[in-house]
């Protein structure tokens, strides 16, 4: 972690509080969210900011997540900056609207406290909720800890609202593990952070009645394809701009905002790829194995949509063996992250064996020891086409 370039305060915050803190500094015009475990404290904390007059946001408390996402979509179409937050079944209930928000090119930013999907009902962390919606035109950024979640919110607002992008974004943080865990978060100055996101400058707004636009028409066989092609282009631009905006953010925080974080990877022979909070635990595992002289490293993707295939390929191409850890299934198919990593490596002349691991479903704990065992297994060259499970009882 390099030095902060502006004044900052360290605060003990839960991940949810860190998200609410970012929202307080962003000062969205409209927030609409329906409470769901483990996201609820985001709504509670922000509602208190509103109640105390700390922010001037119009807070809407709809009767469902479907309405919550509809409210923020309507608000964004009206030129406002609008935000929401949800998890699991709540995100699933929003699914009907998610592609409409992106299709309408409305840069809503929403935090997701990752939680397993029913059934069986489970309130704990896995990535099945956000992975299920990965192809609906939303930018997706995964956070390792509360600090990253906080910073990603600012990056997401700028990226989503960029005139060349105009796509909604979701920021993921691991439910309970991060959402409810208290950690030390470095919070930067209010004015600096607000200035970083600035005010939203919408190109189209329903409230600009002097220039009336029809938003969300019916497009049939003759135009739907063209409109969707634009969305794909916006994703391409988002990928490029993520780095540019990240550089601007790093002017404030002194940190780097790459597509991914590499940890002792460059001189490694065996690497694992893992998202979010488990990456932190995995770093400790890497350090311990390095002490034993084992050449292991880690790659933690942050930007998942758009997916940085070329850059990830270049970061992994020197490895002899790779393990990919997914916290969700893609039923009947390769696990989501694993599938992307395999894809990214396809263009290499040399084929690198990649082993798929699934872990942590429904909040099943993942221990450093288990990750070390994964590394050791990979170091022994144990790779198969079978998807393996970590911490599962046979």
């Amino acid at each position: 972690m390099s030095a902060t370039k502006v004044k900052s305060t360290k605060k003990p915050l839960t991940g949810n509080e860190a998200i609410a803190e970012a929202m307080r500094q962003i000062k969205p015009d409209v927030v609409a969210a329906y409470p769901i475990t483990p996201q609820s404290p985001i709504v509670h904390t922000f509602a208190k900011f509103v109640a105390d007059g700390v922010v001037d946001t119009v807070m809407v408390t709809p009767e469902s997540e479907h309405s919550a996402i509809s409210v923020v979509t309507g608000a964004e179409a009206s030129g406002a900056r609008a935000m929401s937050a949800t998890a699991s079944q709540g995100l699933a209930l929003m699914v009907e609207v998610l592609p409409a928000t992106s299709g309408l090119r409305l840069p809503v930013v929403m935090a997701i406290a990752n939680r397993a999907l029913s059934a069986p009902i489970n309130i704990h962390c896995d990535h099945s909720d956000s992975m299920a919606v990965r192809d609906l035109g939303w930018i997706q950024i995964y956070s390792e800890n509360a600090q990253e979640a906080y910073e990603n919110m600012f990056l997401a607002v700028r990226l989503a609202e960029h005139p060349d992008v105009l796509l909604p974004a979701m920021i993921m943080l691991d439910g309970f593990i991060i959402s409810h865990g208290v950690e030390v978060v470095e919070v930067y100055e209010d004015e600096v952070m607000h200035k970083f996101v600035g005010e939203r400058k919408p190109k189209f707004s329903l409230l600009n009645y002097k220039e009336p636009w029809t938003m969300g028409p019916l497009e049939l066989t003759d135009y739907y394809f063209e409109t969707k092609r634009q969305e794909q282009e916006a994703m391409k631009k988002a990928k490029k701009l993520y780095i540019e905006i990240g550089k601007e953010l790093s002017e404030i925080t002194g940190k780097e905002y790459g597509y991914f974080e590499k940890y002792r990877l460059d001189d490694a022979e065996v690497g694992i790829v893992v998202l979010s909070s488990a990456a932190g635990t995995a770093k400790d595992a890497v350090d311990e194995l390095r002490k034993e002289g084992k050449k292991v490293g880690l790659l933690k993707p942050k930007l998942f949509r758009p997916f940085p295939y070329e850059e990830i390929r270049d970061a992994l191409k020197h490895l002899k063996i790779i393990g990919v850890l997914d916290r969700s299934y893609s039923f009947g198919a390769y696990a989501p992250l694993y599938a992307e990593i395999r894809n990214a490596l396809y263009d290499l002349d040399k084929r690198i064996p990649v082993q798929s691991y699934v872990y942590g479903l429904g909040g099943r704990d993942i221990f450093k020891q288990e990750i070390k065992e994964v590394f050791n297994e990979l170091l022994e060259g144990k790779v198969s086409s079978e998807e393996k499970c970590i911490g599962l009882r046979e």
Partner: protein
Amino acid sequence: MKEVFEVRIHGRAGQGAKSGGQILALAAFKEGKTIQAFPEYGSERRGAPTVAYTRISEKEIRSHEPIVNPDVVIVLDDTFLYTIPVTKGLSDEGVLIVNTVKSPEEVRRITKFKGKIFTVDASGISINNVGRDAPNVPSLGVLVKAYPFVKLESIELAIKEIFEKKLSKEKTEANIKALREAYKEARS
């Protein structure tokens, strides 16, 4: 001294295991340490057993695994001594703190734990001072005595910061009094 100090608190939902862990974390944070405080969540309703963890370190904490080998275990309800393996993962160098009227010897007999044992009537102290059974704060007083990783004054500052938002000044003071009393009265 160790680099990372880990505490596990067993309580019943409503006894304040989670907030106890957070007070401890805040106190350590006030001393410039890095902290993590995280409860284990089921779908607990008032009365159900709960667990909360606090991890304190002099350097950055990256791990997000649950605490496997705590340095200290705090038991807020002595019936757990019979029903839950409260000393699981606790080494002989570790410390067991129990809110009970029982003696440390009696606790040792029940748990067969070989390390240091501290007992205190945290519930009694809490009822006397605060007027309700909130054993979490007094238990932290014992913790400071048993394992001086965090200063008593820091715990007091943390209590002030957290409690004064929700409670009256008198109640906050009463809690601090309970903390100090437990610090003095703890038996080992």
